[in-house]
């Protein structure tokens, strides 16, 4: 029995690699590399820390929103013109009011308590955080439950789709202005949010004094 399960698992993991190779969204190496850079940026800026995310929930740290808003502001302008030039495509998620509000509420509660999100959690596990590993086991069970009861419970809970909409749909004829204003306003928000930081001595005591962000 054990060996059957074991073989099944390896086949499934192999299947994951094959699915990525076949679906044409970048080579296997590129997708892995995107992950490496993603993990590197998050670890290097330390935005995976409990003190950064739960710290924001307590309004004692604002690095996460500053970095997020800046990334969104810059990307929105670049992406719009890339799409216009045919160098990228839109991948919009539909407006499903019930799912967004119920899901966003559960997600927000969980993010404040865990002090991670699904993207930053694995980076914390990679630096040895056992509490986040336990959170990931909870997450796997959540994913299991969602899969098992998708048709019966969760899909109806998400409600009807009101369609895929983007901001420029409401300003026909003024797309360029809207994109520029949107991108600049979001970037300015990132700069305007007052910089507050919660430092973690246990994290910084490994560094020489001249490299510590709290002492420079």
């Amino acid at each position: 029995m054990d060996t059957i399960v074991h073989n099944g698992l390896w086949e499934r993991i192999e299947g994951m690699f094959l699915t990525v190779i076949e679906q044409g969204h970048g080579s296997l190496a590129l997708v892995f590399l995107i992950g490496v850079i993603f993990g590197g940026i998050i670890q290097y800026t330390r935005v995976d820390k409990f003190e950064k995310i739960a710290g924001f929930a307590m309004l004692k740290d604002t690095i996460v929103p500053k970095m997020l808003f800046l990334a969104v502001g810059l990307t929105s302008i670049g992406l719009y013109f890339m799409i216009e030039a045919g160098g990228a495509h839109y991948h919009i998620k539909p407006v499903m009011w019930q799912g967004l509000i119920i899901g966003g509420t559960l997600f927000g509660i969980a993010m404040a308590i865990l002090g991670k999100c699904p993207g930053t959690g694995p980076i914390s596990i990679a630096e040895g955080r056992i509490d986040v590993l336990v959170g990931a086991i909870g997450g796997l069970l959540g994913g299991l439950l969602f899969t098992l009861y998708y048709d019966d419970i969760f899909k109806p809970l998400m409600g009807e789709s009101a369609g895929k909409m983007i901001l420029t749909d409401f300003f026909k004829g003024h797309e360029h202005t809207v994109v520029l204003v949107y991108g600049i306003v979001i970037t300015l928000i990132a700069i305007a949010i007052p910089k507050v930081e919660m430092f973690d001595e246990a994290d910084l005591c490994q560094l020489p004094d001249d490299q510590r962000p709290d002492k420079s």
Partner: protein, 167 residues
């Protein structure tokens, strides 16, 4: 430099998003929550032919699964060699300062919130990466609704859950 400033992080993340969106990159957004039910399907050996949701997420789930392996590797290497933050730990300093000193309490809350987080992300169809970063960069209305709800709920929960006044 052992820490990147927030503005450098924002610029680098923006470049990574543009590369991923570009047809010369992956021609898709970055997402980081679909891999969880995908891995649940792999670990518990669920048949995608039997569960419509697994069929539905087969491609994005696998893509994010491989990206996640990269993220684990990148996070590990950076934490060992650059940020020097790698160590086995059970309870964050901020939890000790604003909640309690109990490892059991932290682990139970982690398990519970991890569970809630994935249910929430899958109901909403995305997380901080898929909705907030990738979605709002495309000016998607759904992502703005999600972002607004999450911002408010995070701050309210932070105020109620932690002893914010204690220093």
């Amino acid at each position: 430099m052992a820490r990147l400033p927030w503005w450098m992080g924002g610029i680098l993340m923006s470049m990574l998003l543009l590369l991923t969106f570009s047809i010369f990159g992956a021609d898709r957004p970055i997402g980081a929550s679909t891999y969880v039910p995908y891995f649940a399907g792999v670990i518990f050996d669920l048949d995608p032919e039997k569960y419509s949701y697994l069929k539905h997420i087969e491609n994005p789930g696998a893509w994010e699964g491989v990206m996640l392996l990269g993220a684990l590797f990148g996070g590990f290497v950076t934490s060992v060699f650059i940020t020097k933050s790698f160590r086995i730990s059970f309870i964050p300093s901020g939890w000790k300062q604003y909640k309690n000193h109990s490892v059991l309490s932290r682990l139970l809350w982690s398990f519970f919130s991890g569970f809630l987080m994935i249910i929430g992300a899958r109901l909403a169809g995305g997380c901080t990466s898929g909705h907030f970063m990738s979605g709002m960069s495309q000016m998607a209305i759904s992502s703005m609704i999600f972002g607004g709800v999450v911002l408010v709920v995070v701050i309210v929960t932070g105020r109620l859950f932690y002893n914010v006044k204690e220093k």
